[in-house]
């Protein structure tokens, strides 16, 4: 874990800051005013920082809960995301974070209660309606849980507010806070999945697909609602066989009645982001096959994208009801 921990002066005495620092007694602690001093500065390099990311403990004082971009959701009308953590321990080559930030350092906003207050305020605006809150937008929701304790803090909050749906998006098998807690209806544990061969090639440092499926199965058995996220769909030799085998493995292990929603989406990047990512990883095969620019987004040629969506959709419909399918179409944000 991080040898360097930057701490905003304003949260230096926060109990969560003290708890994190206690875990790393040998870390070099550097006091800063605002996390922007060390995060995402112009002269930083995501690829190099990924070798040894530092941890930044900070206060999120505004824009804590934001509307999701169009096309992002699992059936609800009021969709929001929040990021108590920026960046991820995994190093998935298709991840937009590597094009979004110049820094791979982790920023942990320790003022969780302020996030909850903002979620509460959002709920109060339309008290009779369901709201969906997505937590894994700028990070993996569970991968750093042993350090952050965020999910442990969030579960009682959402459990007490049935109209507030929480999506935990993850590839992690660190499910302890969920395993140790009684399940409740408005929490969806959504696993990102690609075929095993693709995962091994491009999802660096992430748990194997088999371990993810095992974790899902355990959570489902305990009564948690499971989300399946086949996003992005990645093209390659034998892609049909690979996806069919993936679906078989998932539905053999996870009872269908525990599946809350399924979403799938194409591999797409805004043009500038794609250029930045290719510049970071010019030797990456994922960015070297046929990719075309369409409407400001770089994507597989249309035939490939639509064939994959149609095939996967057909395959999944053999297992599940139409009403829980959602296509995720990223747009420039």
């Amino acid at each position: 874990m991080s040898k360097r921990i930057y701490v905003e002066r304003s949260v230096a005495d926060h109990p969560r800051t003290r708890a994190v620092l206690k875990r790393y007694p040998r870390a070099s602690i550097i006091e800063i005013e605002r996390y922007g001093e060390v995060f995402n500065r112009r002269n930083q390099n995501f690829r190099l920082q990924k070798k040894q990311p530092a941890l930044i403990l900070a206060d999120k004082f505004s824009s804590r809960v934001l509307p999701t971009p169009p096309g992002y959701g699992i059936g609800g009308e009021n969709n929001f995301y929040f990021s108590h953590l920026l960046n991820c321990v995994y190093d998935c080559r298709y991840c937009f974070l590597q094009g979004m930030y110049r820094s791979a350092n982790y920023v942990l906003f320790v003022n969780y209660e302020d996030f909850f207050d903002d979620i509460e305020a959002q709920l109060a605006r339309l008290p009779d309606q369901d709201h969906y809150f997505f937590s894994g937008y700028d990070c993996d929701s569970l991968a750093m849980e042993s350090l952050t304790g965020f999910v442990e803090a969030a579960l009682p909050f959402f459990r007490a507010r049935p109209r507030a749906w929480l999506e935990l998006r993850t590839k992690s098998v660190q499910t302890r806070p969920l395993v140790d807690s009684a399940p409740f209806k408005n929490c969806v544990v959504a696993y990102s999945l690609t075929p095993d061969t693709v995962a091994q090639a491009v999802e660096h440092k992430a748990p194997t697909v088999k371990r993810r499926i095992d974790a899902m199965a355990q959570l489902a058995q305990q009564g948690w609602s499971i989300g399946l996220r086949f996003d992005p769909l990645i093209y390659g030799a034998n892609w049909m066989d690979n996806y069919r085998r993936l679906f078989d493995a998932v539905f053999t292990a996870v009872p269908r009645n525990r599946i809350h929603s399924v979403s799938y989406g194409p591999l797409r990047f805004p043009k500038k982001m794609y250029k930045d990512i290719v510049s970071l990883y010019p030797d990456e095969a994922l960015f070297s096959g046929a990719m075309h620019l369409q409407n400001g987004m770089v994507a597989y040629p249309d035939g490939i994208e639509s064939d994959m969506a149609a095939y996967c959709s057909d395959q999944l419909r053999a297992y599940l009801d139409d009403s829980i399918f959602f296509q995720c179409l990223p747009e420039v944000r």
Binding site: S28, I30, N45, A201, V202, A237
Partner: protein, 279 residues
């Protein structure tokens, strides 16, 4: 031209340069130069002696950059003596925050390398500090060195290591050349380890920035500058996809540069990635 790994050592004093040159086999440049400059036999490492102060530190960094032919892959290492209120004399520290006393500006070296040094913050002052009451190291050039070096390369490629020479004393007790030499020699192995790791990083960055060297010798077709860029992109994709040989091997079978680009692009576009080969 393909970039090679490069490392700049920047020191303020000849007394700091001498032990480093001896330890690491750096020889004086044969060309006249505004700053004393030394090169390793391989040409990968350059040491420049800036003189005291921020202005000279910045100017010497620019000088070193041009001497090496430029490039955002160059790694930068400032080594020198510094004051501290209480750290043991002769102890070496990796700097993790630089505060420029005159402006209040703060800089953050982002070392991503495992190194044997403990870390400390540093204040860069314009006149030697006689009393030191806080926990900071004190020097006279690191802020400008870092400011310039991290504009030329990314901040992960810039490191500052300081060796404690005094606890805030008057000028009359400034350490002798011999003392400085001994302190630096004592940390020679650790500095070498750091320098080698930085050269590896520099090499990775060189490969990232310029992944393909386009050698058009023996190619009969004329490629414009724009077409050469397109050809480079095709070569990069070709290599990343693990296709055999080089696209340049077949260029002469096309009748024009434009046909060659179209044909080669079609070849890489039609390649379907076998993910079992890329694990």
């Amino acid at each position: 031209m393909k970039f090679e790994p490069r490392l700049v050592w920047l020191v303020a004093l000849p007394a700091e340069a001498r032990p480093l040159c001896q330890l690491f086999g750096l020889a004086p440049s044969r060309h006249p130069s505004p700053f004393p400059t030394f090169f390793s036999a391989s040409g990968r490492e350059l040491l420049v002696v800036s003189g005291l102060g921020r202005n000279l530190g910045a100017a010497a960094a620019m000088h070193a950059y041009h001497e090496l032919g430029g490039g955002a892959h160059i790694a930068w290492l400032n080594v020198g003596i510094a004051g501290h209120a209480s750290h043991p004399i002769g102890s070496a520290w990796m700097v993790n925050q630089i505060i420029e006393y005159s402006s209040g500006a703060r800089y953050y070296p982002q070392s991503v390398i495992r190194h044997p040094f403990q870390s400390n913050n540093l204040t860069t002052v314009d006149v030697p500090q006689e009393t030191m009451v806080d926990t900071s190291l004190y020097d006279m050039e690191a802020s400008s060195f870092f400011q310039i070096a991290s504009r030329l390369s990314s901040s992960e490629l810039v490191s500052v290591v300081k060796i404690v020479s005094d606890h805030g004393v008057d000028k009359s007790s400034f350490p002798s050349r011999k003392q400085v030499g001994r302190w630096i020699e004592n940390h020679g192995a650790s500095l070498r380890q750091l320098a080698d790791s930085m050269l590896v990083l520099s090499g990775e960055e060189a490969q990232r920035i310029e992944p393909v060297e386009l050698d058009l010798d023996g190619i009969n077709l004329h490629f414009t500058v724009a077409q050469q860029h397109q050809l480079k992109t095709i070569c990069r994709r070709w290599n990343a996809l693990g296709l055999p040989g080089s696209p340049l091997g077949t260029v002469n079978t096309y009748s024009t540069a434009s046909d060659a680009l179209t044909g080669l692009r079609r070849l890489v576009d039609n390649e379907v990635i076998d993910w079992t080969q890329n694990e």
